[in-house]
């Protein structure tokens, strides 16, 4: 089987259409994961064991099971309970929840790294819990976490092809439908790989920059 550049030119617009959806899903998923992770990290620190224990178990459970099965769960089972989600939304929720449990660990480490003295100073200044978190702890905890968070967002980007299994028309699904229409697999599948490699390599450059800017390596 020969590589056919004309065919590549012909399918490029369709694949770029898919790239857009892939990037959209990654961005929305990242935002959701950033928020979900913070919520999980804060709930796990709750002094009330009835809150912290179940949250810890649920997070552990989500991290221990495959994303694909969770996507099936959201897309095929929630309708049984009357919640019908469009595929892209179901996919974004799946990605956000799954990676939220990973980012929760990043937040936890970041928060634990804020020195004790900061908490004591906040108490001495008579700040309440909300003020302490908003003005003292989080502003110090978040910048060093940024590279680690970005790392997970890149990982999430590489998981987006799973969304094709719940009928989201992202890059992988577009490539599959092109391949099935023309019975040519070599160009679409290879191009999908190239797209992922190129975008990942760019993201890695961005990540290195974030590490230099925020990571304070070797401080």
């Amino acid at each position: 089987m020969e590589w056919d550049w004309d065919f590549v030119r012909q399918i490029m617009p369709t694949l770029l259409e898919g790239v857009k959806i892939t990037i959209l899903a990654t961005i929305l998923g990242s935002v959701l994961a950033a928020v979900v992770g913070l919520v999980i990290a804060l709930l796990r620190r709750s002094p009330n064991r009835l809150v912290s224990r179940p949250v810890a178990f649920i997070a552990e459970f989500i991290r221990g099971t495959p994303l694909l099965v969770q996507l099936y769960f959201i897309f095929y089972i929630l309708p049984d309970f009357g919640i019908l989600l469009p595929p892209l939304l179901a996919g974004v929720i799946g990605l956000g929840l799954h990676y939220g449990t990973y980012t929760a660990e990043v937040y936890r480490a970041g928060i634990d790294n804020v020195p004790r003295g900061q908490w004591e100073a906040a108490k001495a200044c008579n700040l309440d819990a909300r003020q302490t978190w908003m003005h003292i702890i989080l502003p110090q905890a978040i910048p060093p976490m940024i590279p680690a968070l970005a790392n997970y967002f890149i990982a999430m980007f590489k998981e987006t092809p799973l969304l094709s299994a719940i009928t989201v028309l992202e890059l992988m699904n577009q490539a599959k439908s092109v391949a099935n229409t023309y019975y040519r697999y070599i160009e679409p599948m290879t191009l999908v790989g190239v797209f992922f490699l190129v975008i990942s390599l760019f993201s890695v450059v961005l990540l290195r920059w974030l590490e230099r800017r925020y990571g304070r390596v070797g401080e």
Binding site: V69, F73, Y76, M189, F196, V204
Partner: protein, 219 residues
Amino acid sequence: MIDWSGYVGLMLQGVLVTIELTLMGSALALVMAFVAGLGRLSRFFAVRALATAYIEFFRGTSIFVQLFWAYFVLPLLGVELTPLQAGVLALGLNVGAYGAEVVRGAVQSIGKEQYEACVALNLGRWQSMRHVILPQAFLLMLPTFGNNAIELLKATSIVSLISLADLTFQAQVVRAQTGNTLVPFTTILIGYFALAMLISWGVRSLERRLSRGIDGVRA
């Protein structure tokens, strides 16, 4: 009511395939991790470049794309693989690339004085690696290897998309035959979680066993 007894055997077959994939994939990943990880530390530029290219390629593209490539594109190039072979190949090479960085990091984190001691004892490069560096470094790699094995277990769910009858695939079969989605998908979620717990338990006990007598390695 649906009679579930007939489907239990189907699910158990799925569990066996998933375990088989995880074990074979992990074995390949372990070999690749050491080959590529030590390759990156080689004296020879060509070996270093080859190892780096392998690692960056497999970490930079999605495992999903790699699997489809192995299953749909390789046959066109004359390499015919069964779904199981394609699955083990994609999983092992992908996770092996992540493991390679773990190997490199662990070997580099062994203190300089250990290498100097090897020189002082007149050990060859191979001897010092085999008897001094790796036994210490392996202990540092273990926890991350455990995480990687769980990642691999979760990644096995995507082989259901190339028609390999693993746990996720069997759940889809049960779903198609009974029309019930909740029961099969909940069952496999619990199944994957139990397998993940088993792996983390196994790695923890291996770690305890191997760390006997080498106290103080982990600072």
